[in-house]
Amino acid sequence: MNEVVLILGMAFITLAVRYPALALLGKIAPPAGLLRALNYVPPAVLTAIIVPAILFKQDRLTIDPRNDYLVAGILAAIVAARSKNLLLTIVIGMLALLAWRWLLATNR
C-alpha cells in the first residue's frame, strides 16, 4: 500500500517537473538572457552530480590515491578529452576502477 503511494507520488512529481515547462515555455518567448544561461545548465548540473560522487567516500572528503572513484574518474576524464568517444570513456573508466581496486587490495 505504502509502495503504491510512493511510486505514484514519485511518478506524479517527476512528470510535474518535466512536462509543464515543455508545454508552456515554447508558447511564451523566454528572454534572451535566460536562453544564454540555459547553455550552462547541462555542464553545471553534471558537474554538481559528478564531483561529490567521486570526492566523497562514505561521506568523507577523500582526496587520496586510495579513493578508487577519484582515480578512475580522472582517468575517464582524460580519455573523454582525448578521444571524445563516450563508449570508450565508459569502458576504460569501469576497467580502471576494477584494476585500481585490485591493485589496492593486493598492496594493502
Binding site: 514519485m10 547541462p42 553545471a44 576524464a77 570513456t89 581496486r101
Partner: protein
C-alpha cells in the same frame, strides 16, 4: 555531397544510434537499481513499476536508498522533487525547439526526459539544418533509453535475489563515468570551464546539505558563474581596437 532527403525513420534511427553509448552506461546503473530496490523494501513488481512510471534514475536510486534507511514516504517525495528540479531546466532549454509540436508529442517527450536523452537531442536540435523531423530523433533517443531502463531493471531485480550487497561492486560508478563522458565535450570555452569549476567547488562545499539541496545550489551557482564569465569575456573582447559589431 548531396544531403539526403529528410525522413522520419532516418531521424528516429539516428536518435537511437546517438543514444547507444549512453544506453551502455545506463545498463549497469539500471541493473544495480533493480538489485538494490528489490532488496531495500520495494517488492520486485514495485521496483519494475517505478522504472516504468517514474523513469528517473538518480531519483529512483536515492529513493531506494532512503527506503532502506527507513525514511518516510513524504520525505522521499520531497527528495524526488529536489533531485528532479534539474529537469525543469532541461525542459526550458528544449521548449523553444518543440513549440510547434502538439500536446500528444509534448506529454510523452516530457515524461521521457532524462539527462542522457537531453544531452543527445539538444545537440541535434542545435544543428543549423532545418530538418522538419528532429522530434523523431528525440523520440528514438527517448524510447531506446526507456525500453533499456525497464529491461535492465527486470534483470537487476532477478540478479538481486542472488547478489549480496550489490553496491559494493562499484556498479554505481557506471553512471558517474557516463556523466563524465557527457560533461567533458561541453568544456570548450572559458565560460563553461568557469561554470564547471564553480559548480564543482560549490557541490563539494554544500555536500552536507540535506535532501540533495546542495546539488541544486551548486548547479545554479555554476550557471551564474558561467553567465558572468561570458559577459566579462564579451566586454573584454569589445576592446577599442576591435571592429564594431554588426547591428
Amino acid at each position: 555531397m548531396h544531403p539526403r532527403p529528410p525522413s522520419r525513420a532516418r531521424e528516429f534511427w539516428g536518435g537511437v544510434q546517438a543514444t547507444g553509448p549512453l544506453v551502455v552506461g545506463a545498463i549497469p546503473f539500471a541493473i544495480i537499481y533493480g538489485a538494490v530496490a528489490s532488496t531495500s523494501g520495494l517488492s520486485p513488481l514495485g521496483a519494475v513499476a517505478m522504472s516504468a512510471l517514474v523513469f528517473a534514475g538518480s531519483a529512483q536510486f536515492i529513493a531506494a536508498n532512503l527506503l532502506a534507511a527507513g525514511t518516510s514516504v513524504a520525505l522521499i517525495l520531497l527528495t524526488t522533487l529536489v533531485v528532479n528540479l534539474r529537469h525543469l531546466l532541461y525542459a526550458a532549454t528544449l521548449a523553444p525547439h518543440l513549440k510547434h509540436l502538439p500536446q500528444r508529442w509534448l506529454l510523452p517527450l516530457g515524461f521521457w526526459l532524462t539527462d542522457e536523452s537531453f544531452v543527445v537531442v539538444v545537440s541535434r536540435y542545435r544543428q543549423p539544418d532545418a530538418a522538419p523531423y528532429k522530434h523523431w530523433y528525440h523520440l528514438g533517443s527517448a524510447l531506446f533509453m526507456y525500453t533499456n531502463w525497464i529491461g535492465c531493471t527486470v534483470l537487476g531485480v532477478l540478479a538481486g535475489q542472488h547478489i549480496q550487497d550489490p553496491q559494493s561492486w562499484g556498479l554505481d560508478f557506471a553512471m558517474i563515468v557516463t556523466f563524465i563522458g557527457m560533461l567533458v565535450p561541453f568544456i570548450r570555452s572559458r565560460p563553461v570551464l568557469v561554470a564547471v569549476l564553480a559548480a564543482g567547488i560549490s557541490a563539494t562545499l554544500t555536500y552536507s546539505w540535506p535532501n540533495k539541496l546542495g546539488l541544486i545550489a551548486a548547479a545554479l551557482l555554476g550557471v551564474g558563474a558561467g553567465v558572468i564569465a561570458e559577459t566579462y569575456q564579451a566586454r573584454h573582447r569589445a576592446a577599442p581596437d576591435a571592429p564594431a559589431e554588426a547591428p
